[in-house]
């Protein structure tokens, strides 16, 4: 991440740089109160991300049903929050005027792509029988897990910055991405873990995908060992990111192998979006922002959850809803890829304003 240059208060490419964006997170003239708040929030994120991720994997493995059985209420609840609710939480961003203004200025990503994805997948779900559509879902899942791994890189980078030890280095990033590529490939050649019911002819490549995953882990560990400063919280988040896909190669049960990934990803997201939503805004307290975000996420999550069960419906309009659900999830991938892209000025400014204790500790 690079700082926006220019004197304080000077418009930089149309944006006004905030005082703390140039001088650090501590607002000028602020007393010990904000510093303590920022320290607590930074610790909340670092510990929360580590514990939620580790807990998600442990919980999924412990609660996983045998074979092809359905999950119990506990695992079902964890999955509902980690999948449907986390996807719907993205809609909260559009309650903010600055996000709407940014979206209007970038209609391709925030308007046309979502409209095209939702309309296209709704139409596809109506026209294409599910037996054929499920093959296309392999590509959908590849995108989903690539989205997971991009978030993992972002979490590790943010943990490094928040701990003052710098973002992830190119080799550290390469290790995470290579391990992720192996994990994604492992899921595609072994789609039983995705419960898709397809039988691809490339199952014997599973050991090769494990070799790719292991190579990525080796690269990542080597890069981590070369790092000069390894604060414990950064190391924990980095290792979680690097080993994220390990359960894919360790378990035969879909829930033990994959549900942990889904839940960990979703909870990481809900935590950081919750912190962004909880930032005090003009005319809106942090608690109000959090309540609005929770309401949107839960209501949207219920709708997404219901639509996700309609793939086998004999009614075309219900299958269209199922297709729209797929498009909505892909919209989450597209919108997120824009809003968290810290090399771009708008996301950097937006996130620095919302979570200064992470980006400018």
């Amino acid at each position: 991440m690079t700082s926006v240059s220019g004197p304080v208060g000077t418009p930089v490419n149309g944006l006004v740089e905030a005082p703390e964006a140039a001088h650090g997170a501590r607002p000028e003239g602020a007393g010990e109160g904000p510093v303590r708040v920022f320290r607590t929030l930074r610790l909340t994120w670092l510990l929360g991300t580590t514990l939620l991720s580790a807990g998600a994997f442990a919980g999924a493995i412990m609660l996983a049903p045998d074979g092809t059985d359905s999950p119990g209420r506990a695992l079902g609840t964890l999955l509902f929050l980690g999948s449907s609710v986390h996807v719907a939480a993205t809609a909260w961003f559009f309650t903010l005027p600055e996000i709407r203004a940014h979206a209007r200025a970038h209609r391709g990503r925030y308007v046309f792509a979502p409209a095209g994805l939702i309309a296209g997948t709704a139409l596809a779900a109506v026209l294409v029988p599910y037996e054929q559509l499920r093959w296309a879902l392999l590509a959908y899942f590849a995108w989903q897990f690539f989205h997971f791994q991009k978030q993992n890189v972002g979490m590790a980078a943010l943990a490094g910055v928040a701990q003052g030890s710098g973002s992830v280095q190119p080799l550290e990033r390469a290790g995470i991405m290579l391990a992720g590529a192996g994990g994604i490939a492992g899921l595609l050649v072994h789609p039983d873990l995705l419960q898709l019911g397809v039988e691809p002819p490339w199952r014997e490549l599973f050991p090769v995908t494990f070799a790719v995953f292991a190579a990525g882990v080796a690269v990542g560990l080597y890069a981590l060992a070369r790092r000069t400063a390894r604060p414990p919280a950064f190391t924990a988040v980095y290792l979680i990111s690097l080993l994220f896909f390990a359960p894919v190669f360790a378990f035969e049960s879909p829930y033990a192998a994959v549900a942990g990934l889904t839940i960990a990803h979703g909870y990481q997201y809900l935590l950081i979006v919750g912190l962004v939503a909880g930032a005090p805004r003009r005319g809106r307290s942090g608690l109000t922002g959090l309540a609005v975000m929770a309401a949107i996420a839960l209501a949207g999550g219920v709708a997404i959850d219901q639509a996700s069960h309609l793939h086998g419906s004999p009614l075309p309009w219900e299958r269209a809803l199922y297709g729209a659900y797929l498009g909505a999830v892909m919209t989450h991938f597209v919108v997120d890829a824009g809003l968290w892209r810290l090399r771009d000025e708008f996301p950097r400014r937006f996130l620095t304003a919302s979570v200064p204790y992470l980006l400018k500790p």
């Binding site: 905030a18 602020a30 359905s70 419960q195 219920v302």
Partner: protein
């Protein structure tokens, strides 16, 4: 962007961006409604979410999609 930058992205976005930390530290007297209403909303959401999970939701798939696809 440029001269036609929308006002929404040309102004401070959070109280943390304002001089002296804006809304931090919190003012000593705060309207009770600003605490109670959001808490009530959050509580109601927990109840609604639990009700939905107990009564309506179907089996969840490991990757987030409906199970048994």
């Amino acid at each position: 962007m440029g001269e036609n930058t929308p006002a929404a992205i040309a102004e401070p976005w959070t109280d943390w961006e304002r001089p002296n930390g804006g809304g931090l530290p919190k003012p000593p007297k705060r309207p009770l409604g600003r605490i109670i209403v959001p808490l009530a909303v959050l509580g109601a959401l927990v109840v609604l979410g639990a009700t939905f999970l107990l009564l309506v939701s179907g089996p969840a798939g490991a990757a987030g999609m409906c199970g048994g696809g």
